[in-house]
Structures are given as C-alpha cells and as structure tokens.
Symmetry: T
Subunit: 148 residues, 12 copies
C-alpha cells in the first residue's frame, strides 16, 4: 500500500535502555521491538513511521523541526524531558502538527513532580500506563485523526 | 463467540448530554453511540460490556461495588467527579479491579483544576483528548490486559 | 398576564431547613416563603418561575439539564456545593443559560473555603449577603436581562 | 417626599470613563447616567443619595469619613482599589455604616487577582456582574435594609 | 432499661463493604457487626441507637436533618466525604447536635489529602485508627457527654 | 490481679497546670486526678500504668527511650510539642511501641498550626476533644490492643 | 532649651479619626493629644517635632522627601499603607533617615494580612500594641538614637 | 520638523529625587535631564513628548486618562506602584494606547516582591536595568512602533 | 519605695552570651548590665524585677508557670524559641499575665523565618530593633500598663 | 572603523525557525536578518558581533565559556532555556561579562511559567516585547555600556 | 603526638540509642564505637576530640557555647533538632567556629520535612547518608580545614 | 595493585572552568588536578577511576548508561543539572549503581533554588561544601562501600 502519511515517533532520554532498565516499571519489551511494531502498523495503513531516540534535548528538538517538512503527526514519549523542557514544548508548538504524548508507566502513580508535563496541554491527547501498548494506542489515535 | 470476560463502563455526570453539550469541545457523537460501539467491540472479542451513566455520585459508587461481583475491569469517565470525589476513588480501590480512566477532551488544556484527578494515580492508565476514540482505545487497553 | 419566559430557581443542600437552621446567619424566612415570593413576582412579570430544592447533587444536575428545554435563565443558590461541585458547574455551562448565583449570607465573611466558588466565574453575576432579599435582587437581575 | 435617609455612593478609580472605556466589558452607560438613576430612585423613596468619584484613594477615604456624619449606608464600587487598599477597608470599618460592594463586571470571570477583595468580608453584601443594574440592585438592598 | 436518649450513627460511602474491602487497612469486622455492637451497647445504657449507611451524600444529609427531631448526638464516619463535603458539614452544623467523627484507619498515615476534614473543626471530638474499636470509643464519648 | 502489661502515660508541657489553666478549654479536672483514674483502670485490668509530665522535651524523650525496656504501649499527650518536635517523633518511632496520641481539646477547632502533628502519622490512632475522657478512651484503645 | 534635632512624625490613613473610631481597639486618645504629647516631649529634650497626618499616600511620600532636608529621624504609623505601599517604603529608604515604625494596636493579633509590613525590614525598629504609649516609646527610642 | 505624534512619559513615586536618591542603584542623572533628553529626541523625530511625575497614584491615573485624548503611546516608569496598583493598570488598559514599561534598575535583581508587575502583562514591552538609557531605549521602541 | 508590683523578665537561648556574640548585630552591652538596668528601674518605680535566662525551653516554661503566683507582667525575649516554641506560647497564654515581647535586633530585617513569632499575637505588644533600649522601652510599657 | 570591542549574540532553542514559527507572536523577520542587522550595527560602531544559535543547551554553554576569551558583553535570547537552565545561568555568571537578556515577545503576557527567568537577576538588564527591535535595543544598551 | 587542635563532636536527640534503634536505617554501630573511632583518629592527628550526646536542646546549646573557649571546630549531628531548632542554629552562628553537619542516613530520601535544615546554610559543609562513615568523613573534612 | 573495581566520576556543566570561575566560591584547584588526585587514589586502592566532564546533559546521560557495563559506583557533581534534570535522575536510577552526589560549594548557603536536587533522594549520600576535598571524601565513601 502506498504510504500517504508520515508520523514521527520520538523517544526521549533513557528509553534506549528499555527492556533492561527497571523492568518492574517499564516491562521487558525493547525499544527496537516497539519501533518495529509501529513501523509494521504503519506499513499496514499506508503511514511512513520514522522512529528516533536521543538522550539529547537538542537532538529531539532538531527532529521536531524537521518533522514539520514531511510528517503529519508526532507521537512522543518525552521521558524525563516531559517535566523540564520548555524548549521541547516550544518546538512542538511551532511544528503545528498534532502531538500525542505517550508514557509507558502511569506517571500519576509515581513521584509528585511527574504529574506536571510541559507537553500535555499543547497535545491532542495523552496516553499513559499501558506499557508498550501505550504506543500502539497512540498510533491508533493518530491513524484515526489522519483518516488513514 | 462466548463472552468470557466482563467490563463495566461508567460515565459520570453530564455525559448523558453528549452530542448536544458543547460540541466544539466534546464532538457530536452521542453516549448511546459510544455505548453501542463498545458493546459491539465487546461482542467481537467475547467481552460482556455493561454501560451505565449517572449524575449521582452514589449511583456510580453502587455500580463500582457491584462490578466487583461480575466484571474483570472498569472503564470510567468520571466527568466532573474526577476532580472532587474521594468516595469514588475509594470505591475503585476497593473493587480491586484494573481501572482505565478516560476523558473525551484533553483535560490538561482546560481550567487548572481539571489537571488534578482523584482517579489517575490508582488507575492502570489514563487516556484523554481523543473524543469518542478515547473510549475505543480504553477498550483496546482493557482487552490487551485481559488477554481477550 | 401571559407567561412568556421561564426561570428555574434551584436551592442546594440544607436550604430546606431555612428559617430553622442558624437563624442568626440565615434569618427566619422559610424556603416556601421565598419560593412563594419569587412565583408571585414571576406572575406579575409574565415569568414562569419553577423552584426546586435538593440535598442531592445529582438531582440538581438533572434539573439543570431539564431547564435547558424550557427555561430562559437559572437562579441558583448552590449551598455547600458552591465550593465542591465541578459536576454542577459542568451542567450549568452545558445548559447555555444565563446563571445568577445567590447566597443568603455574605460568604466572604465566613470560613476561608467559602471564598471559592465553582460557579461564580461562569455566572452572569453574583449576589450575596442580603438574606431572602438576595433572591429578590436575583429575580430583578434576571428580569432585566430577559427584558421581561 | 421628605428625605429621611442618606446614602453615600462612591465610585473608585477609572469609573469616570464609564461608557467609553472597554464597553464590551462595562457597557455604554455613563457614570452620570448611573448617578442620575440613583438620585431619582432616592428621591422616590425619600433617600438623599450623594455620589462621588475619584481616582485618588485618599479622596475616597476622606468621603467615607465624612459619610459617618450624615449617611446611613454606603454603596461602593472600589474599582481597582478593591484588590489593594487596606486603608479604604479601614475607613469603611471605622465608619460603622452598612456597606454594599458593587461591581459592574463579574470580577470572578477575569484575572485571578480580581477574586480577592479587601472590602467583601466587611461588607453587608456584594453584587457583581450586572452592569449598571448592579448599582440599582445595590440601591434596592440598601433601601430594604434601611426600611425606606 | 427505658431508652431515654437517641444517637444517630452514620456511615459514609463504601463502608457497606467493610470486612471485604482492603482488610489489611480496615479489618474483617462487617458493618452489621459494628451496628449490632453499637445497638447492644445502646440497649445496655438506655440509648436508642439508629444506624444508617449510604453511598449517597444527599441521603446522609437527609438523615442528619431528621436526626435533629429525635437524636441527642451523632456519631459519623463520613468516609470519603470527610475530605470533600461542605454540604454534609453544613448539615451537621445546622443539626446543632454534638458530633463525634470516627475513622477506622489512621487517616494521618495515608494520602496527604486525608489529613484535611470538613468535619473535625465542628465536631466535639475525633477518634481514628482503632478499627471497629473506634466506634465503641465514640459511643463511650457520647454516653459520657449525654450522662447516660 | 497480677499486672502483666505496662503502659507509659506521658504528658507534655503545661499539662501540669491542668484544672487551673484555661478551664473553659481544658476543664477543671487536675492532672493528678487523671493519673489516678488511669492507674486505677490499670490495676483493674492488670496493667502497670506509669505517668510522667514534663515541660522539658528532652525529659520526655528520655522516658520514651526507657519505656522501650518495660512498657507495651505509650499514651501521649504531647501538648505544644505535638506541632514542633521531630525529636520526640523520632524517639516514639525508635521505641517500636504502639502509640496513642491524646488531646484534651479538639485541636482542629483552634489555631491553624495545631492541625499539624508530628506524631499522628506514626501513631496507632488519635483521640481528641473529650477532655479527661480522651485519656480514658485511649486507655481502652490500648487495653484492647494489648488484649488485657 | 535650644532645639538641635528634628523628628518628623507621620500618621497614615484614618488616624485622624483616632479617639472616635473603634475605641475598643484604638483607645479614646485623639491624634491631637498624641501630637501634643510628642511636641511637649520634644521641647523638653531639644527636639523639633513636626506632626502630619494624611489619608493620601502621595502626601505622606512628599513629606518623607521633605524630611530629608531638616529632620534627623522619622516616626511613622503607616496605618493601612503598612501592608500595601511599596512607594512609601521606597521614599523611606531614599530619605536615608532612621525610621521607627509604630502601631497603636498589636497588628499580629488581627487579620493575617496585617502581619506583613513593607516598612519593618527597612526600619530601625518596630513598636506595636501599646496604644498612645507606642508613640511615646518610639520617641524615647529616637531620642536615645540621636543622643538628645 | 512638525510634530505628528504624541507620547506621554510618566514617572511614578520618588522618581523626582532621581540623582540624589541611592545613586549606587539609580545613577546621578536627574529626572529633569532625562525629560530634557526625551523631549530633544522627540523634537528630532517629530514627536511631542510630555513628561509628568507624581507621588500620587490618582494624579498619574488622571494623566493616563487624559493621554487618551492626545497621545499615541505611553512610556511609564511606575516606580513603587508597579507592584501594587491595580487602578493604574486599569487606567492603562482603558487608555487603549501602547504602553512601554521602563525601570532604571534591574528589578529582577532586588527584593522578591519587585519581580511582580501589574503593568508588564498589559504592556507592549518592558525595559529595565540600564539606568537613564532605559528611557532612551523605550523612546526608540515607541518611535519604531509609531513609524516616526 | 515599697515594691507593689512584680515583673518577670525572661531571656531565651544564647542571650547569656550577649556582648560577646555578634556585637555588630546585638551590641556590646552584657545581659548582666541589662538586668541591672531593669532592676534599678524597678526599684525606682516600686516594681520587683526578677530576671532569668536559660537555653532550656522547659526551664523558661517552668518560670512562666511560677510567675503566675507572684508577677503582674512578663517581659520576654524568647530568642530562637520565638519562632519554634508552641509550648512556650501555651505557657504564656495560661499565665494570664500581660506579656511584652522584646528583641534586641530588628527581626524583620534578617532571615525570613524570623518574621514569624509564636508569641506576638498573644502578647500585649512587641518592641524590636533598639538593642538594650528595647528592654528599657518594654519596662516603660509594662510600668504604664500597671500604673506603677 | 577598527573593531575594538566584541559582543557575543546567542539565540536559544527554536529561534532558528524565526519568521516561520508562529508569526503572529514572533513576526516575519528571520534570524539571519536579525544577525545581519546586528553585524551591520557592530561594523558601524567598531564592535565585532558574533552570532550563534543552537537547540542544544550544552552548545550554548560552550559558547558562553569561549566568549570569556574575546568578548566584552553577551546579548542572549535564551528561548525556552530562560525558564529551565541553571547551567546556562552558571555559565553566564562565570563569564563575568555584562549580559543583556532579550525576548522577542512579551514573556509577561503569556503562560505563567514564562514569568520566571534564571537569567534576569544576573543580567545587566532585560528587554522584551518589541520583536526584532528588542535585539537592536539590546545592541544599543551594550554599546552605551561599552562606551563604543 | 601533642594535641594542638580541639574538636567538639555533638550528637543530638535519640543518637544514644544508635545500634539498637531502627538498624535498617542507621546500622548496628553504637555511638560509643563512633566516639571511640573519632577519638582514636584525633589522637593520631593531634586533635583533642570531645564527644557529647543529649536529648536536651538546651544542653547541646550549652556545649556549643563552651566550645567557643577551647575548640577549633564543631562536628554536629543535630538529629531531630536539625529541622526545628533556631536556638541551636543561633548558638552555632555565635560560636564563630567552622561547623560540619553530619547525618547517618540520607535525609533527602525520607519524610519531606527532613529536607529542611536550620544548620546547613550556616555550616561549612554537609555530609549525609554513609552511616558511621559520615562521621569519619566529617573528621577528615575538619582535619583538612584545620591543617592538622 | 590489580584494579578490581571501577568508579565513574562525572562532572556537570561549567566544572571545566574550575580554578578560573569564581575562585572565591570554588577555589583555585583545576578539574584536571581533581581528576589526577582521584585517579591516584584509585590506583592506590585498586580502583579504576574514569573521569568525564560535559556541558551537555545528554552526554552525561550517555556516560551513566555506559557505566552500567563496567563501573561499580558513580561519583557525580551534577552542577547546574542538579536542580533541573529529571532525565539525569532517571539515568542514575536505571544504572542501579550506588551514587554519591558531590558539590564543591555549600549549596544550602546560596540561592534558594539550589536547595532542591533531583539526585539527592536517589543517592547513597551527599557531600557538599568542602571544595576539592568534597571529591576526596566521596572517593572514601565509595571505597568503603565497595570494600576496596
């Protein structure tokens, strides 16, 4: 099927260690497996899914700026930057793309500072707490939004 | 397909006016349509989906207590009670069932008091901002959780 | 005179005990007397005044939803729900009717928590501190607004 | 009719521009028209209504002190001083007169700092949100209080 | 022994599940057993003990209002309403009866929001943390107060 | 009856003036009378009750440390130290004994700072507001706990 | 005795009504009597005492600026401006004169907002709670400071 | 050059002492010198620059109201009123003119309360910290805005 | 002159080092010199002045309790206990004696936590910032109060 | 003209998209145009202006550290880092250079969190709200400061 | 080796129970063992190490005052007084000696109130979290500081 | 001696300028000297000490992730990231290694925002205030922990 839409999937700091890091919180699925799943889903629905992870706030911002030129939506798990990065927020606003915020764990059930997000109020919607499934649901939400 | 699981779907106050009330925020889909969609999805996957709406906090608590006897999960959009009902929170904790919190609108993008939820930190996960699709994603999350 | 407008008057919890409960704060007029006065005023100006009191938040919300179908304005003394009910607030917003918030006592001169209202910022206006007269002034404000 | 009561009406800073300043918030009625209406109402009920506006906090305090010698009540729209003047509050307390606080706009629906008033908790009652009608309702409340 | 005093015992939301719900926090005694114990104690000391549980805030308020006509004191475990119900507080104040607030668990050792009670400062006294014994101690306190 | 259990009763600062100091808040019973009552109750149930009052925080801590060697529970009215002493809290935690916190007056109905206690969240339970009866109820709670 | 020092005494808003206004808080001494006492004390110790009262913040600031040219110290009871006037604070700082802040009543025992002063931390010292005596003590403090 | 634009320059309380008052913070330039500089700049660019200083809040508000009739912009250093005057804010809003807020010192590097301004969020822009140069830059900003 | 009144002067922790400790804040006068001055003043006016210093909170409380039996007023510099001792506050309240709070330094001009006092709101008045003179002014205030 | 001074101009995250990103807030001028203008102004006044933009916090810190070796001042628009970067603040402090903080938009008129800046209190001054002109004014301020 | 320096080691309340009290937090080493280790280290480096523990705030303050006469530094574990004692803070400031604050446990990982210390900001440095080793490191820090 | 343990030493932003930057706060020792000292100490005790500094948050996170594969402990001075980086905190938690937090200066004695650390509560312990010695003490703490 021809790919007529593009989605940028962004993973913030420490998500590269997924499957190893604190499996009791984040599960044993690796980031590669998640990316593979998302790309497969994309292929199925004619959506070009590009995945990128970085521990560097600036690198993520660079990608958000580029997404503007080719993508129709952004799915982002900002990791620790969720709670601290106004710069990432500004980039997402400027991209003018619909943004879905994703978290593997239920951020509301952890340290108090995780309850605040610089992304949520500028996102289309937020999904958290379902492990790798959170990403799949985000893909669904984006697909529905794009009419793909 | 035989129904081997049960899911209680609960809608809080004012959700009965869905489709009429502030369509620019909540869309034009009615609650009956959402319930119909969820029951259909349930039938497809062998899940008995029971839906209930009330403007009465006590009536919702009664249902949560009953769910304990037959359901395997609760999907709840607590509406305005999200931000004010400790009693509903207590009922959900006591039910010992996995709970998915759902909101049609992105609560983070509205009044400041909507950012606090008495349900989120005791839920399995939270989904908000995708209109009627929020419910469908919640169903998916529950189905995956139940292995149905 | 033909009644060409409708006004729903709503009294929140504990207002049924008016005239008995803490007369040094609330005066000796009963709720029936207030309702009678409002209905008489309505008759005089061609306004159908319907009065309803409940200790049940859900019952008040039900009435607000119904008011949408016949009333042109709501006069409400939310009593204790003033400070705690987001659900009632949501119902009032959804009704799309002009709302006048009324209090018998001067809420600003009592416990600190009474200074916050979930209704005030979505109301047309607020009147408090004049005992039963507060309701009469609210009627006046509504009448002026409706051009009755 | 002989005037047996006196009421001092006080308008705080910027109210002299009424009818010109931000008509979408404050309406097109001028302060002179409001004062005229109040004096007419006073005449009708035997109440001597004196009106005074100033942008100077001290001038308003001077008038409050004088009111003690001839007036039976004060109707005040403290404007911006509502939120900042302890000195005006002190003068009102010291006057020992019943005070009705009035606002043209619904202060609860504007900036957060407008929710705090140094006058409300020492007033007899508060009326806000009904434009020029707010003053008329305040007059009614005072008249009832005075038994005029 | 002739019953010369009356005590209304009120249980708030979710207390009907006592003995089943989270026994590690609330113990295995059922509400019926507690009510039975309290009625037996009442009989012993000539006190008519009436017990009532509801998940509905309004139903509890109704009972508080009725208690005014026959009871000499109220023992109440407001459950989740402890922290959220101004309406229940208002009803208790209006009843003009001595109120003893009871909690099975030590509310101070749980979530931070449980530290605030809308009842404590208007109660005669507060007892928490002793499981079913909390109720027995409350009965003792009431009995002493009534001189029964 | 042989005394098989030991209970340390501790009274914080200013409680030695009981019966004299502010009788309208604390009643006319003296501390000696309370101690006598508790010792008598102890004798009746085979519990060795030792009472100690001090205005010195350090002296109270010393006693808590000693209690560890002979007592099975601590009943403490920390007086003013309730709100300020982390050191006393630490001693109570370290004693590893069940602690019942007692107050003569209803601390919730007084100055705001009295609502915070460094003891409550580490106590078994809290009783306040019943005057000297508070101590008797605390004894009951301890007795039940010890099975004495 | 030749007057070799100068002291500016400033009274803020509403102090002109002293002796009339709320005598149960402020006593029956008039401001003229206080000024007379201070001038007499000044004469006795060779200090030129100038007194000034105003309800106008700007008028007080003008006087503070002039004081710079002739006075050696300022005694000020800023009244309600204590809690709200940064401009007065700035004038006092700029005067480079030692300032003694005076209050008739004990500001700490009244409304919470009276606990904050924009003057205290830039003053030499503060005296409050002793009625007219507060001014005499302030004079003493200034005299000692000036070595007069 | 013909003057085709008008700019009202306003200086708040204590700025009349500029050059004398705390030169280590505010420099040695006097207010007259600043006004001269601004008038000269105005002449150069065809802008009628009117300067006014007052220690009286009301006098500044009066000028803001008048500016509406002849000026195209306001440059204001509200001095101490920056942090306390809602009335001045209201006047500036009502003037409907572009406002540039100016401070000689860097208000962010001083007392915490100076960080809050009632003017900043309704201003076109803010300039602080450059001494007399702050005014010149403000003039530049206004000139650019007016296209003068 | 016969001594007909008694005044207990209390110095809190670290005041025994006066004259040595931080002379730039507290001056070079020793506590003995202050006590001597106060006793001499007492002799002059027929007042028995007893002075006591302790670093022990409990020892100060003991003295406050004793003062009840012989003194007519208390002058207290609670030192560091000013900001932390509810127990001392309780003792002062219970003594039922007029209390004057004294500080050598201007507590408002130091660390933020020194702005809060547990004594001020229950004191007759407060004097701070005048070094040893603070005590002399306190003596004056007490003498006036006692009519000695 | 020989360049005798050096100024490092730093642009924080997302400023590279200027002219494209949210033109209704930031205008249509591109960053290259601003840099060109600043370099031209520099050439005119003998100031070597070096411009640098990055989305990477660390890259900006590196530049601040280098500036120490050649520049005489820093003009910085920290973008989103304004509100979150202590590290950038530390670098600016350590550079020991005068810093002018610049913002295109009026940060005071946007989200509440934009009111806090980690740079403002360590800067020479702050300019915000004038679009590209903000930079030109900052250049003026620096030039004046350097005497260039 | 001749002892040429003196160090006062102070242990606050409850540290006398070390090795017994909550070993999972504080380890099994006793205070005597720690004191022995410190004295041995002192002997080795010519430092007279004096150790003192008390549950009495006043006793610790007494020792701090004495230390001034013979010691060159203070190592203090203020225990529970860390968070509550301004008096101890004042004594340490007045001693004019370098102070090292020590904690056995990591205070940052426990209750929120343990994050605040009245000692830290006036100490030379702080060491926490290493059990008995914390004291040894503090000794090292002091030795280095003294050049012993 | 064979190196049997590994320790990753991490220095956050701006620490590369050590010895130059603000020597009055941080001393004149350079980072190279500190690293040399730590490596020498490591060699002495059979510990492989690797040192790394970066101004880039992402680069530090990368190193923390690598440390997991070879190091037994982390010593980190997070510099400005201490107060702002949740991402670094997450990396440290995920590394599952004991972490010692180090600061050259006493962070408690500086700006208020430096009192909060995202690392402290997940660290083994914290050492601050002793300049370069802080690192040496941290090494000691790690060595003891590792038993090296």
């Amino acid at each position: 099927m021809a790919e007529s839409f593009g989605v940028q999937v962004l993973h913030g700091p420490n998500l590269n260690t997924l499957g190893v890091r604190e499996p009791e919180i984040y599960g044993t699925t690796t980031l590669d497996e998640i990316d593979g799943m998302l790309r497969a889903l994309g292929k199925e629905h004619g959506i070009d899914v590009q995945c990128f992870q970085s521990n560097h706030e600036g690198a993520l911002i660079d990608r958000v700026q580029e997404a503007r030129t080719w993508a129709d939506a952004i799915v982002i798990n900002p990791g620790g930057f969720t709670h601290t990065s106004v710069a990432l927020r500004d980039a997402l606003i400027a991209s003018d793309l619909p943004v879905v915020e994703v978290h593997l764990s239920n951020v509301h059930a952890r340290e108090a500072f995780r309850r605040h997000s610089y992304v949520s109020d500028i996102a289309l919607g937020v999904i958290c707490g379902f492990g790798a499934t959170s990403y799949r649901l985000a893909f669904e939400a984006v697909r529905e939004r794009l009419g793909a």
